[in-house]
């Protein structure tokens, strides 16, 4: 956190409160924005990334800028390339006022070193360097590992400036291919789509809370499915569902990483069961559906509750219950103009919201979020059909599949501003899952 003298901080905090809700029409006055003390929705601090020296400097600068932009918490100041002023140094206060005029409250100065990068963040209003740190960069320049190291730098710097850690050092797992689809993992900025194993017919990938494994269901030649756990380090998968006997699908890791909750059904309905993720163990029943369908579980971040899709009312709705299945309650309610089909809940990492898809009367799905505090519902999409919501670690961005451009692709949406971007380019992509932070 960038620290300011207490009196200044207090004054600034009092000043900024009335501006907090509105969309800023002019760049905020540098003195009124309190760096890092509190993140205010609706205000985005202006940040300028200085040009980076060295043969990979342009790549580094582009990645940092894009990471800040994709986080939607920073207003990246695009600097003029010609006659670009130098990085300010101690004593050259004139440069700081120039940056202030451009609307920057912070400057990010990255200098390549033998092992990685030296990063300094300048507080423009204070006209000085506020924070420095040396970061290691892994692997060869522009490799997958190198980019992930750089994303971790962006995320840390974003935390210094806005108080909220960025989500660049994450990946999205998904299924590529409609029939006999395979698992892939792509960086949060769309780089390096990489196969996770070779199984055809994979569905419903779910991340281990430490990002080390993926659980998924595999549709076989004789039907759905068995549950597998893919180990990234080993590059191989292990079956964890019992051979024979019924349908197994939609696995999710519990927040402790030791248990997997999944759907199981033999004939009369499907229910949620729990089993140990890494050792052979018995399956423990969670829901008692009595012949109804209960599927697609998602954990609360404290691991004490589950939300899931249930057809017990005669059509799919979202329910929550305790993690052992007791106290089931209906979460979603009928609304005039919809199709009474709500499914695929995902619980936000901060525990406040549940994202899900709701079918409209024209048959298309739209993404909603429901606040657990007051049960209010907000709709976030309207173009195409939108499904399979999965929260980013910041509880603000969501990855989902959409047909808004024709074929089914993955998109990221910022639930606060509504801004969205396309993540994948090959058609026939579905069932995404956003990873936890993969590097700090």
């Amino acid at each position: 956190m960038i620290r300011l003298p207490y009196a200044v901080a207090l004054a600034a905090a009092i000043t900024i409160a009335p501006h907090a809700r509105g969309v800023a029409q002019n760049p905020p006055q540098p003195e009124a924005v309190v760096l890092g003390l509190r993140y205010d929705p609706g205000t985005k601090p202006g940040v300028l990334v200085l040009r980076v020296a060295g043969v990979n400097g342009d790549s580094i600068r582009a990645i940092l800028q894009r990471d800040f932009d994709y986080g939607d918490r920073i207003n990246v100041i695009a600097a003029d390339e010609g006659g670009f002023p130098d990085a300010p140094t101690a004593g050259r206060n004139g440069n700081y006022s120039l940056y202030a005029k451009l609307g920057a409250v912070a400057l990010v100065q990255a200098t390549p070193t033998a092992t990685g990068m030296h990063v300094a963040v300048h507080d423009v209003a204070q006209a000085k360097v506020a924070r420095v740190r040396d970061f290691a960069l892994d692997g060869a320049p522009n490799s997958r590992e190198w980019r992930m190291s750089l994303h971790a730098v962006s995320d840390e710097v974003e935390a210094w400036i806005t108080g909220v850690r960025g989500i660049a050092a994450t990946r999205v797992a998904y299924v590529q291919g409609v029939r006999g689809g395979k698992l892939y993992v792509v960086d949060s900025d769309g780089a390096f789509p990489t196969a996770a194993g070779d199984d055809a017919g994979a569905m419903s990938p779910s991340w281990h809370p430490k990002g080390t494994h993926l659980a998924y269901a595999l549709v076989g030649s004789r039907g759905c499915c068995q549950i597998y756990v893919y180990d990234f380090a080993a590059g191989s998968a292990r079956q964890i569902s019992a051979v024979g006997g019924g349908l197994n699908s939609t696995p999710v890791f519990a927040p402790d990483g030791a248990v997997i909750v999944y759907t199981h059904g033999e004939e009369a309905g499907t229910d949620l069961f729990a089993t140990t993720a890494f050792e052979r163990g018995p399956a423990r029943r969670i829901t008692v559906g009595r012949g109804t369908d209960n599927t697609s579980p998602t954990f609360s971040p404290d691991g004490r509750r589950l939300a899931f899709t249930s057809g017990r009312l005669g059509h799919p709705e979202i329910y929550i219950s305790d993690a052992d299945g007791t106290n089931p309650q209906l979460l979603t309610a009928d609304k005039l103009g919809d199709q009474n089909y709500r499914a695929n809940p995902d619980w936000s990492p901060d525990g406040r919201l549940i994202a899900y898809q709701a079918q409209q009367t024209d048959g298309r799905f739209q993404l909603n979020t429901l606040s657990l505090r007051d049960r209010s519902v907000k709709q976030h999409t309207s173009e195409g059909s939108n499904e399979d919501a999965s929260w980013a670690p910041d509880s603000r961005h969501i990855i989902f599949s959409s047909t808004r451009t024709g074929s089914k692709q993955l998109f990221v949406i910022d639930t606060e501003s509504g801004r969205w971007r396309q993540l994948t380019r090959n058609g026939g992509v579905r069932l995404p899952a956003w990873s936890p932070p993969l590097k700090r």
């Binding site: 409609v178 029939r179 017919g201 569905m203 419903s204 549709v219 004789r222 039907g223 759905c224 499915c225 349908l247 699908s249 939609t250 759907t263 059904g265 033999e266 004939e267 009369a268 309905g269 499907t270 369908d293 599927t295 697609s296 899709t309 057809g311 059509h315 799919p316 089909y341 499914a343 695929n344 898809q357 079918q359 048959g363 799905f365 499904e387 399979d388 579905r430 069932l431």
Partner: protein, 197 residues
Amino acid sequence: MHRVPRVLALSFVALAALGACKRKPAAQAPAPVEATPVSTAPPPAPAETCDAACRARETEARDAEARRAAIAAARSTLTATIYFEYDQSEITDESRAKLDAKVPILSQNAAVRIRIAGHTDSRGADEYNLALGQRRAAAAKRYLTDRGIDGGRIEVVSFGEERGTCSDEADSCWSRNRRDEFEITGGDITAVQTTSR
């Protein structure tokens, strides 16, 4: 073996004998061998040279053919697909008739085992559709077990929307995908009703 009234059988034999008497013994021609014609030699005129033994073989061949056809028809009936209404797993009236036709085949062939695979159209959530497919397959199984078929012979699986036979976003395709498929997974159909000679 065909059962023919005795009087008729005797008449046939008598006629055959008469026929044999009328003809001059032909030059030593190769005796007509069996029902399958040999392409190199001119086929003998069947009515004139086919004796009782030959006629018996012909009848047997016709019976075998009728049996093969009946078995094929039974297999086709047993593996006929049934269809469902949107978002439903209830057995429709049309499906009821198709399932009713499967019951006697399963009853008479106790060694036969089947797998019922439930499918959905592409609308709806992919994961929920896995469960809906299962429910459709289970509904057909229950219909059969309610009518006396042992449930241990019937396996239930689901493909959800993962094995659509077509992919257009139109009702003409969706209605074809909401289905249960039936597959024989063990045993042979041996007992059939032959419907024609």
